[in-house]
Amino acid sequence: MSAYELVDELPSGPARAAAWAAYALTTYADKLAAAAGRSDVVAEAYARASACLDAAAAGGGPLPAGLPHWHTPVRSREQLRGMRDALDTLRTYLAYELHDEHAPQLARIDAQLARADELWIDRPPDEIRGAIGSALAIGLDEAYALGRRLMTTA
C-alpha cells in the first residue's frame, strides 16, 4: 500500500503519524521530481518515506524530525514550484483533517505561503528566490510537524 493510501486507512496513533510522515515525504519528493527532476533532496525524501512506511507497518517507531533540507540557500524556479505544490497539497490535507479551511492551526503555514505569494514574480533574482525558498521550507516543516501531531492525537 502506498503512503497516499495508508495515511487514510489507519486510525489515529503512532502508526498513522508514521504514515503521515511517509505521505508528506512522498508528496514532497513527487512534487519536486515532477517540477525539477531528480536531486539529492528527492532521493533523501524517498528514502525517509520508505523508512516511515516500515515504521507505520510496525505500528509506529522513530520518525525523521523533518523534511530533507537543501544545502544551498537559493532554489531554482522549478524547485520553488515543486516546493510550493507540495506545501499546497499538505495544507489541503491538513485542512481536510481539521474540517476547517481556515483552522487556526494552519495560521503558521498560511503565513509562510503569504510571504512566498508576496514575492512570487516572474524571473526573480537570487535574493527573492532565496527568501521564497526559505519561506516554503519553513512552511513545509510546519505542515510536517502539525500533521504528526494531528495524526497522533486526532
Binding site: 510571504r115 508576496e118 514574480i121 533574482p125 535574493e127
Partner: protein
C-alpha cells in the same frame, strides 16, 4: 526610479544622512584584476628600474582597465535582465564617514510601501524588514 537620483533622503536620529535609490538594475560588481608579480624584483637595481614601466602598466590594467572592460561588457546584460524582471532593488546609501550601502529587494507591487517603511525605519535609526521585501544587509 533611477540609478542616479535618490527616491528619498532621510536623516537618522544621530544626524546620519541616507539616500534611498530605487532601480531595476543591479550594476555589475567592480572587480579588480590581479596585476603581474613584480614585487620580488630581480636583485639588480638597474633591472628593477627597467621593470618599473611594466609594473605601472600592469597595475593600471589590473585596477582600472580590466574591471572597466568587465563592467562595460556586463552592463547591458544587467540592464536587460532588470528590465525583464518585476524585482526592484532599494539601496540605502550613507556616504559619511565611510560609504555604506544596504540592500532590500522587493516587487514592483509593493515598492512605495516598502520604501516608506525603510525610510521611516532609517529615520528612527533602524534597518526594518518590511513584508514583501527581502533585506540582504550591507553590500560588500
Amino acid at each position: 526610479m533611477g540609478l542616479f537620483r535618490p527616491a528619498r533622503t532621510v536623516t537618522g536620529p544621530h544626524g546620519e544622512y541616507w539616500e534611498l535609490y530605487v532601480s531595476k538594475t543591479a550594476l555589475p560588481a567592480w572587480r579588480e584584476g590581479k596585476p603581474g608579480r613584480f614585487e620580488d624584483g630581480t636583485g639588480d637595481p638597474r633591472g628593477d628600474l627597467l621593470e618599473l614601466p611594466f609594473m605601472l602598466v600592469s597595475a593600471v590594467w589590473g585596477m582600472l582597465v580590466e574591471p572597466l572592460l568587465r563592467f562595460l561588457v556586463l552592463l547591458p546584460v544587467s540592464f536587460v535582465r532588470g528590465r525583464r524582471s518585476r524585482a526592484i532593488r532599494i539601496e540605502a546609501v550613507n556616504g559619511f564617514p565611510h560609504r555604506e550601502v544596504y540592500l532590500w529587494t522587493t516587487t514592483d507591487d509593493g515598492v512605495e510601501r516598502v520604501l516608506d517603511e525603510i525610510a521611516s525605519g532609517l529615520a528612527a535609526g533602524r534597518f526594518v524588514q518590511p513584508e514583501g521585501a527581502v533585506y540582504s544587509g550591507r553590500e560588500p
